[in-house]
Point group: C2
Chain length 481, copies 2
Amino acid sequence: MNLILTLRILGALLLYLGGALLLPVLFSLYYHDEAWPAFIYSSLLCFGVGGLLFTFCKSSKDLSVREGFAIVTFGWTFFALFGALPYLLSGVIPAPIDAIFETMSGFTTTGSTILTDIEKLPESLLFWRSLTQWLGGMGIIVLSLAILPMLGVGGMQLFKAEVPGPTTDRLRPRIQDTAKLLWGVYLLLTALETLLLMLGDMNFFDALCHSFATLATGGFSTHNASIAAFDSSYIDMVVTIFMILAGINFSLHFQLLRGKLGSFHRNEEFRCYIGLFFIISLIIITFNWSGGSYQTLGENLRYSIFQVASIITTTGFATADYEVWPILPQYLLVMLMFVGGCAGSTGGGMKVARILLLLKHAQVQVFRLIHPRAIRLVKLDNRPVDKEVLQSILGFFALFIGIFVIASLLMAACGMDLVSGGAAVIACLSNIGPGLGTVGPVDNFAQIPSFGKTVLILCMLMGRLELFTVLVLFFPSFWRK
Amino acid sequence: MNLILTLRILGALLLYLGGALLLPVLFSLYYHDEAWPAFIYSSLLCFGVGGLLFTFCKSSKDLSVREGFAIVTFGWTFFALFGALPYLLSGVIPAPIDAIFETMSGFTTTGSTILTDIEKLPESLLFWRSLTQWLGGMGIIVLSLAILPMLGVGGMQLFKAEVPGPTTDRLRPRIQDTAKLLWGVYLLLTALETLLLMLGDMNFFDALCHSFATLATGGFSTHNASIAAFDSSYIDMVVTIFMILAGINFSLHFQLLRGKLGSFHRNEEFRCYIGLFFIISLIIITFNWSGGSYQTLGENLRYSIFQVASIITTTGFATADYEVWPILPQYLLVMLMFVGGCAGSTGGGMKVARILLLLKHAQVQVFRLIHPRAIRLVKLDNRPVDKEVLQSILGFFALFIGIFVIASLLMAACGMDLVSGGAAVIACLSNIGPGLGTVGPVDNFAQIPSFGKTVLILCMLMGRLELFTVLVLFFPSFWRK
């Protein structure tokens, strides 16, 4: 591990963060919310620490795989720590653990909150909350489509070929080129949603913040009632569509812009994701209808579809309290929490492609029992999947379930009940936001003890970075020369 | 698929069942419980159908793998259907679905019951309930140590080498030899426990029935309060020890009888199983102590250890209502429900060896990320595990979780709450018995609607037969020539 080089790049990242921290100042001055000093001080601290690291840590070597892991994990951790400063310095969130929870929830695009009254916050801090999600989303797109495939994490190398940009084996130039292309798509979609939300009588501030949270599949809102606060079926529809778009592999959006319409149809994961969205929506609508959750079919469609989109994409916006729905719809939503969006999207969870490959693997296993001498390979998009990749995905699944079990156990040790504890963990591990029980869509994470919050912060980080990226750091051999 | 040969062997199995059905007649006559005609008629029906199948279905061919699958799955199904007859004919359980549930729960050594007042049953039927478990346990030992390894199911071929008896590639003679050796151990342990329980002032009838249910890790009791009815710490201790013994690979017991003490120590799965039992017991005792569940340390030890043994071995006997314990102990018990006993024992669940290999696989995956060019194999008992076996185990894990999710979903569709529905499924899929919530240790499965009971019956069957054995039958290509 080249620690010097790692620190230099982390320094550079902090300089970017310092710049980002100046953006809320504009809103603070415009709204006269008096919170601007908190951002100025935070920014200066980032520039100071970042500048020092960048200046004094010099290394002529190029990046290797190990530094890649360290930069990704510590990068996100640094952002969560330094990004928490405005909350602390402004006094809006007095407890450090709470401020870090909120910021980690932002940068990992989770959307779980410890705030009990969001609307009380100064506008600049509301903007910062949404901005952390948007920046986190930018990070995720590049992470999942450019960095992780090269690091070989959890079978993500499967998606190497789909990534736009020139193919080169050196880490840095490739990441930079890919990033620029994909961020173009991300920016375009954000601008489009902001515009469409403003057409629905949302003010610019709310429209921008919600677009940030939608495209990042984050779920932070500027209102206590989330999207329900606007009570507009037009807004619900716009947000639903953009959540679904944000849950799709961004390289597909890129292909679309290049006029390659067929790439959507050819992509098995996309077909599966859309199919799952429609089937689950249909079942939930049916059960909400027979269970009498809504008076009219229109209301049923509006609220059911929104919630399915919000959960499958791991956004976590709410327009309805799904805990008053019948049991089966609730159960289906919990199932979707584990599945998550497409690989290469800003969505979290295990990803549709992995679940698809697991099912195919199980099918091949059964087939082999019947035909012991036949050879049948697991395929995705008509291409056989490499055995190593498949093993990696199976390992990811086992690890995901394992971490879910252990973390839930720790939540139980904090005294949380089985459903709430498990739901809190999956809500954070899959980067969704709300869970069930005491952390349901109309509740928040404030009442969880500090130890539990620490566990959940780790879950958000691990879930967001596809588990392995974080876990390798705990192996002593990672740190050896 | 050679259907004729399959039917012939199923016929032979029914003849054995017909014989077994005559045993309760002895108890009926001794206790004058008037239920003997139900057994005579049931027995005659088995002899009739079995005799017809055995006589008229003649085939000169030898068994192949496909017939193996069909015989195992249909064998257990036939036993559950024909074994349900005494309940129906005696009028003790009027509804066919309930009688089949109870019998399937017996033969799969699950121990879930739909009876609300067990003590009301005639002695002969109580004996039959326990006998179904004991016979099921006999079946499981041979299935997991002789049949499944040869069929290549779910990585069970891993344990091929450990099985006693001559090694030959032909299915029938090998199974018969292995069966005889292992059943000797099974019989011996049953006799020993019966004797020890009688020394604790249990009458012969109760001692025999509870020994049957212990060695099979079944969990059916002759009393409503299960083992708690005897309120004796000596009996609790004896049952605890024999549950633990029943959860160990029976080929290890066989090695022990041959004087090979070291085989226990060399067996990694055994060490892991014992380690898990002690660690979980310790944590639960600690939490029950700090939570004030028990007045004295003696009580705490007695009840906590019994319950851990009962759940990890998937027996399901109860001496305490663990639902009044603190959350963490409950959560740990749920975790153990998924793990289960050792492969080659009468215990259910995913098996300790599979979980161990999953963890090792995940570790190797992380290691590979750090050292992409290094080769590290997953090992068990210092022998490298074949990649095909590992893939098979990973597939088993994914399938187990998948079936758990889908079955829980169906329970939710029946209106069961999240915890009760999920607990009912895992209690049946892992062949444990009691779950949580409305199917907790002081409740039963009576109130579940017929559709839910059908789902649970299927879960018991699939879980007991290591999933794949049942699932292959649903593939059309299985039935083709």
